[in-house]
Symmetry: C2
Subunit: 660 residues, 2 copies
């Protein structure tokens, strides 16, 4: 069964993987840590940039708020991770969707999963846009081809996702990339703090730059607080990805729950330490980034040269600490760029996993559940790729624009999950005897309550400060997505009820007799074969029907019929208005009215032509008749195919088209 497309497919995607090879070995802790924390760590590549560009829009003086905002975001993240550490004890196999669903019901689950799905789309798009930004920091000539770089990277990640095997090289490279990223960043922060203490810390390339239209800084406490809140909502993009370890219980080594809790702790510690360090260093080196590169002015007040832009924060810091263009600086930027690619790829694992679970539960079309021949949920991967490509095109691969829509989905999903968990812990507390056990549950309830409060507050802050900048689009998308999923579920449920057989179902009823009707338009070989097949089924009654849409054609059929001495009657169905479908339906209903318990089988000869464009030249009438007859009760359509071999070697007719 080899065709050109199949060969190409094999070359790109690899050989099929058998279902029996599905189970991957469980990962030990040190292997699971990089895999599950890559997504959260990759936020470090753009979260500091978002905070700084929000602050600098109010003037350079506002940059002093940076470290403070960094601490605030880290504090929220630590609280959320703490609540997740508690949650995995109660809901070990599930993740956010299950947490929200367990105690809040399917609606909340669907809403949370719609939010998460959007979150995954943005993870892919933002990571790829940031990748293009870092690539431009390494190779400046790529700066003007940002879209092309991001889209090429998307193509690469999509291909890897479609190959999808768990045994690929990605599994070996990812831990190296994560380790390099963490070590290089830790080294950078350590060296930077040391230099700062010794007074030898260099300035960032953008130190002293200003942004057009900004003042000297916020005036008064209220303005300062508002600015800090806006910066916080930008920086809360750091929270994305911290939920990944929660759904890893099935893939890590036993005992799963302690491993997951350990993963959460280690991930949070790494992200927190690096974020605080980066924000502090950025402040000390005077790093500036701007939403619009054209609005950036050098210390002399002159705009940047055409096409130039400020490198991302980590790239600027690496240059300031390790020296511009030094091997360590280049390595740091490269490791960050690679990590962003892996973060994008992780979305291609999480998204199809969730859509497949939602399809299992009947909230998405069933084909989302199907695994392709590489064990990949092909539909989910392709849907995510298409959505990410659209986002990249619409937002022209601008990280800062994408981020404005990104955070709201994560915060909504976290809020729903924590609300669900809060209910669960309250119920548990009511049913837990013994002081010591109650104290443990009460602690978890407390952590979850605080985390829920903080998450909800952060959500409100983001919604208020970002509503007009796109958060409303994200929210609307989530709500509409949830409604569509609910509609699909209702449809499947209703169909499922209708299709479930009962004990004495009339669907089992054996029709008493079988009438076979062969639809003939010309008495050619396909028609002869259809008649032979119809006769072979030995029906109770057998007739051929010709719809008289064109007098001349009909008369030729009748002549041929008589001349060939066909062994069955030919009925001519009048069609005064030349329609080939309705008169046939009327004729069949007439028959059926006489004996409603019988089965009518309609045999239609069809031509199978290849290549596909030739189909345009055939079968138009047959297709219309088939589609219409599908809606008739008690009628079954059999298509008798005739494989047209035009242009092929003539072969003995009986050995027809057996090869493929």
């Amino acid at each position: 069964m080899t065709t050109l497309s199949a060969t190409l497919r094999r070359a790109l995607l690899g050989r099929p993987v058998a279902s029996t090879d599905a189970a991957a070995p469980r990962m030990p802790r040190w292997r699971a840590l990089p895999v599950t924390s890559a997504n959260a760590l990759s936020s470090l590549a753009y979260a500091p940039d978002e905070i700084i560009l929000t602050l600098v829009a109010s003037g350079t003086a506002a940059l002093a708020l940076g470290p403070l905002v960094g601490w605030a975001v880290v504090a929220v993240m630590v609280l959320i991770v703490a609540s997740f550490r508690a949650a995995v004890v109660a809901v070990p196999h599930g993740g956010i969707y299950r947490m929200a669903r367990t105690k809040l019901g399917p609606r909340a689950g669907v809403l949370a999963s719609a939010a998460l799905l959007l979150d995954f789309v943005f993870t892919a798009a933002v990571s790829l846009a940031a990748f293009a930004h870092y690539a431009a920091a390494l190779v400046p000539s790529l700066a003007e081809h940002r879209m092309a770089v991001a889209c090429t990277a998307l193509g690469l990640v999509l291909l890897l996702a479609l190959r999808g095997s768990n045994r690929g090289r990605g599994r070996r490279i990812l831990p190296l990339v994560v380790a390099a990223f963490v070590l290089l960043l830790a080294g950078m922060v350590g060296a930077g703090l040391w230099q700062d203490a010794g007074g030898t810390l260099g300035q960032a390339v953008t130190a002293g730059h200003t942004v057009d239209g900004s003042g000297a800084g916020p005036v008064g406490a209220v303005a300062t607080a508002l600015l800090a809140l806006r910066a916080f909502s930008a920086g809360s993009v750091l929270l994305t990805g911290v939920e990944v370890p929660v759904s890893a219980a099935r893939t890590v080594a036993h005992p799963a729950v302690p491993t997951v809790r350990w993963l959460l702790t280690m991930m949070a510690a790494a992200v927190a330490a690096l974020t605080v360090g980066v924000m502090h260093l950025a402040h000390r080196t005077g790093t500036v980034v701007a939403l619009d590169p054209a609005s950036l002015r050098g210390p002399d007040g002159a705009p940047l040269p055409e096409g130039a832009e400020a490198p991302p924060v980590i790239a600027q810091l690496a240059a300031a600490v390790f020296g511009p263009g030094s091997p360590l600086a280049v390595l740091t930027i490269a490791a960050t760029a690679l990590l962003l690619l892996f973060a994008a790829k992780s979305a291609f694992r999480s998204f199809p996993a969730l859509t497949s679970r939602l399809a299992d539960d009947g909230y998405l079309p069933r084909q989302m559940r199907v695994r392709g021949d590489r064990l990949v949920h092909t539909w989910g991967v392709v849907a995510l790729g298409a959505a990410a490509a659209i986002l990249l095109l619409v937002f022209r691969a601008q990280t800062a624009l994408l981020v404005q829509l990104y955070v709201i989905g994560v915060l909504l999903a976290f809020t729903l999950a924590q609300t669900g968990m809060l209910r669960l812990w309250r119920r548990r507390l009511a049913h837990t005897p013994g002081t010591r056990a109650r104290a443990a549950v009460r602690l978890r309830l407390g952590i979850t309550a605080v985390a829920l409060g903080v998450t909800a507050l952060a959500g409100v802050v983001v919604l208020v400060t970002r509503f007009t900048q796109g958060a409303w689009v994200a929210l609307l998308t989530i709500v509409v997505g949830a409604l569509v999923m609910g509609r699909i579920h209702r449809h499947y449920a209703a169909v499922g009820r209708e299709l479930t057989p009962d004990a004495h179902d009339d669907a089992r009823a054996l029709p008493s007799r079988v009438h076979v009707v062969v639809v003939v338009s010309t008495l050619n070989r396909p028609a002869l074969r259809a008649i032979a097949y119809a006769r072979a089924t030995r029906p109770s009654s057998l007739e051929a029907v010709v719809v008289d849409a064109d007098r001349a054609v009909t008369e030729r059929v009748i002549d041929d019929w008589d001349r060939a001495r066909m062994p069955l009657p030919l009925t001519v169905v009048a069609s005064p208005y030349r329609d080939t479908v309705v008169p046939l339906v009327r004729h069949l209903r007439e028959r059926r009215r006489l004996s409603p318990r019988d089965l009518t089988m309609v045999f239609i000869p069809e031509y199978v032509v290849r290549p596909g464009w030739r189909t345009l030249l055939h079968n138009r009438t047959a297709t219309r008749q088939k589609n219409r007859l599908q809606r008739e009760a008690g009628v079954m359509v059999g298509s008798v195919p005739w494989q047209i071999r035009e242009g092929e070697e003539p072969r003995p007719r009986s050995a027809a088209n057996l090869r493929e």
Copy 2:
């Protein structure tokens, strides 16, 4: 069988017309004349403009060539019409396609018909663009909405064409419009000549205008001759439509051939007289039109006001002769505009008639032959409408741009037709005894030879002077169209040979036994019904098959099967790579290998859901299986439909979906 769309259809298009009402009464001479000459007469609305705008581009002095060029075009037209008058004697029922085909063979016929089809498309597009121009001359505010006016008119004409009855009001209005046009134009020319003789002829509004970038006139004899040739090629658009009476033999009163010859003579006389008169008057009144209105300068050298443009020649002449805004001038312009609409509509009669004849001969897809319920060749009408709309959009409804591609098709078709007729007359001459009869044939041969020479020369002139301005596109379209039609014909011919049964055709062979295989994916009611139907056909052997693409699903089917005590064996087909199609095909081939002379019928349960978007949620696997099995020899697919009634009133199950 009433649905919303059917009601709308009736309201717009009218009630179905029975085939028995097809034959329209034959037209008497005076009714046939306006019907068949409307197309040729309508060329008068833009041919003078084309000549003048070509001349004026070389300077105002060149306008003196106008009447001469008019005479030249008229001479060519008269020759062509004379050759047609001869041709109808020999090929009374046919038109251009038949003339070219008769003696030059199918290839020439196809080439001529491709050229004619393109010609009809341009007739529609050019007439509508010119209509928009005349509408703007009546109501100046329409000038900036030219595209909208042309497209609205196209929609109207398309609707009328789809209503298509021969008994509509158009039949009564058209003769009035043609008579009004001819009388008003004749009156205008007569009055103009009278005024000119008396020295009271007014000047055109554009008299004294110049065109940017033009010189004082052609310098030297060669330049003048070249300019005259270019103007001639532009003016030869007057030749379009003179072939219409040739194919009218079936629709005019007996005796047909003399009537057609009379129609040709009268049409040619009217067109010739009016053209010569208009060209003369245009010269005397100093009428100027320009390809690009922005390049026109008033007598004072100032450009026209923004958005203003020169009215078409007939509108300018009517204003000069009858007085601007006088009732007669308004009537003349209105009659011209209406005539253009009827010319566009006539293309919607000629084009589908030709495509239907080509489909009859197997050069176009068979559905082109089908008449809709209003006796219209719906496919042809819709194809022409789409092509004309594309032309209007691409050329932004600019008559002058469209005309550059228009003429080449007509001239090519005429050349081919006349070459065919030349051969015919030569053969006739060889087989004609008797001096008198020979003299008649020799006269016809002579006329045809001269006309052929002139037409071919005109074609060469147009091709050379217009090649880069678009004639190559038209020529390429014609050649590609002819090649595609040839390819379609070869395909139908090959298929036809393959499908024609011989005396002891193995397509008649009765399969010895019938194996029925029911494909089951879940044991639900549709599956139960499929099994019941399969059992009702009392096959030689019966089995159910489940493709094991998902272990859990398969096990549920097996459990349900055992619990329901199904009266037939269930075969589990292994699918290690989760494919639902290939393992099924393999299984069927295995069976078939054991008994190749048997028939395998595959029953597939299918869900019929409405509205259509819900289909996306079902049947994906069934559809893929069906499509693939169509390519297997000895296998026949029966789809057992289950009409899902979700959301409808519950009804007794047996009385299912009988209404429509």
